[in-house]
Symmetry: C2
Subunit: 331 residues, 2 copies
């Protein structure tokens, strides 16, 4: 994590310096335009006591999707890349995987067979790599993997492939009394080991999909075991349900990038008073990826239609973001 | 809520005044003794940077059971009294209840038949009164009931029958950087409407048992519906599981009063570094109730054995609490 710590310190210094020369622009990595203006306008209206749109501080809840909204989700969800690496690491204990799909496909890097295994196959891979371990063991495994693993195209740790403009947005909202939450379709225990350091979001503000968990009293003390069984799927209509369960109040602002975020955005939009809904469009094949509406992962279709119909803020990554990743500030 | 607001304001003033004359005792309603000393000692050790027991602020998580730990749970759980009142209110729409158990038992105040219906009967009553409504409707119903309902013996709103020493303890911990959570076997949506005003604990720090919830897009907008089906039971071994799910880190301090809290206390105790575990014993039949180890509700047996074995703090309500309820400060 040393390299990352140095990078974060440098970025922090640069952001501070940028803040000074830019007469305190809280969003220096955002280009001027309607998206940036709408954010600044919303935060001002909702936090000015004399405004008719004022939101009391305890109700300032901002929810963020993670994959594709806060960090890069291409070429595959980071959690899937983790699962593939774990299959390889665990293979010596599972000789049967050499001839059993979908494990064989992972071990032989056989994309066609993996695709043929479909969603059912992916769930099998997740169960085999996430189930049957204690939450503390799983946290250690994820932390070690995250420190070593690199993105196949960018050759950097995944924790460096977070969106600089969104980091600034998170900090800006928190500076104005918003509580920032992650509401992801990904696994909560996979994200939690890194969210506090990378996003400034503590584990208790990270919700996601989860495995069934059970408490066990063992000889050397109590443990919580992740079973090889899906618990809650925090995606699509599951997101507002997860929000009600975890937070118990409706968010004031919601940020997403795909149809998996639609119901969370609708639920947020339907509340009283000031509201803010934002969608990120992936349009930049040079600095990141351009997949936008046409993608098997992070598909954006109905949510974009709804955003355009209701005037939600839509971010065009290529046009609206001066910087995509933090390392661009340093190099 | 007017009476309650006046009462709270008065209590607040008195507590402030007490703070001044008592040279800043943060726990004025606690009698001097080992329980009070152990709390003060733990908070000092865990929040002094030079102490070997220092806990960083982001890891200062304190979890509290609700029924019998923060408020009175006798003669029955408040949520059951709510369910009984709801059965009566809904009875005109359910003529069949007049001749169907366990509903008939509630309508006829027939304790024997109610007892005979057992746990299965109670679940039926909860489903009939908590299921099939939106979360927003349910919140309104609970809020209205809580403002009107009175305790059968003390003839006061239930929100006034919270323990003054525990209110002081919650505030004291928060003043020292602890995040305070409710971890209750009761329904989370039943508690949340009152916890922020009464305990200073916002809904997002209240976990409890829950009904299955589903998101529905209706003609006039999206809703979340509580189905008549049990979702998660946040009791006994469910408590540490709920804590891992909601908070994602192990608590530093845990407070309970019954065997339903045992696994939460064990999970807390098994962490590294400074730890604090406390059990409240109900021993005061004059000011509250004396039921302690012998009770069908809030049974305390194995947890007390464990507390004594491991030297956890045990509070004897009669001996350790100078004041039980806030109104005693006023009258």
């Amino acid at each position: 994590m040393n390299r990352q710590t140095i990078l974060l310190a440098t970025v922090f210094t640069l952001v501070l310096a940028a803040g000074c020369t830019n007469t305190g622009d809280p969003l220096p990595s955002w280009n001027e335009g309607p998206a940036k203006t709408s954010i600044l306008d919303f935060v001002q209206r909702s936090t000015t006591p004399s405004s008719s749109d004022f939101v009391p501080e305890n109700e300032r809840i901002a929810v963020f999707d993670n994959d594709g909204t806060l960090w890069c989700e291409k070429p595959l969800y980071v959690q899937l890349l983790f699962a593939f690496d774990r299959i390889e690491a665990l293979a010596p204990d599972h000789p049967e995987w050499a001839t059993t799909q979908p494990f064989q496909a992972v071990l032989e890097d056989d994309h066609e067979a993996l695709h043929a295994a479909g969603e059912h196959g992916l769930v099998e891979l997740l169960m085999a790599t996430h189930g049957g371990v204690t939450t503390e063991e799983f946290k250690k495994t994820v932390t070690a993997w995250m420190a070593d693993a690199e993105h196949p195209r960018f050759a950097r740790p995944f924790t460096e492939l977070v969106y600089q403009p969104m980091l600034e947005l998170l900090a800006y909202l928190r500076d104005h009394g918003f509580k920032t939450y992650i509401v992801s379709g990904g696994g909560m225990e996979f994200m939690r080991p890194m969210t506090e350091e990378v996003y400034g979001i503590p584990p208790e503000q990270v919700m996601g999909s989860s495995m069934n968990k059970v408490f066990e009293m063992r000889e050397d003390g109590p443990v919580i075991v992740q079973q090889a069984a899906v618990g809650f799927i925090n995606d699509k209509a599951g997101k507002p349900v997860g929000i009600q369960e975890f937070i118990g109040r409706r968010p004031t602002a919601a940020f997403g990038n795909s149809d998996g975020d639609l119901q969370m955005l609708q639920w947020t939009a339907a509340g009283d008073g000031a509201r803010f809904m934002l969608l990120v469009r992936h349009t930049d094949e040079v600095r990141e990826y351009a997949y936008d509406r046409d993608s098997s992962v992070g598909r954006l279709d109905q949510a974009l239609i709804e955003a355009q119909r209701h005037g939600w803020t839509v971010v065009d990554m290529k046009k609206d973001w001066q910087v995509v990743f933090p390392h661009e500030l340093v190099e």
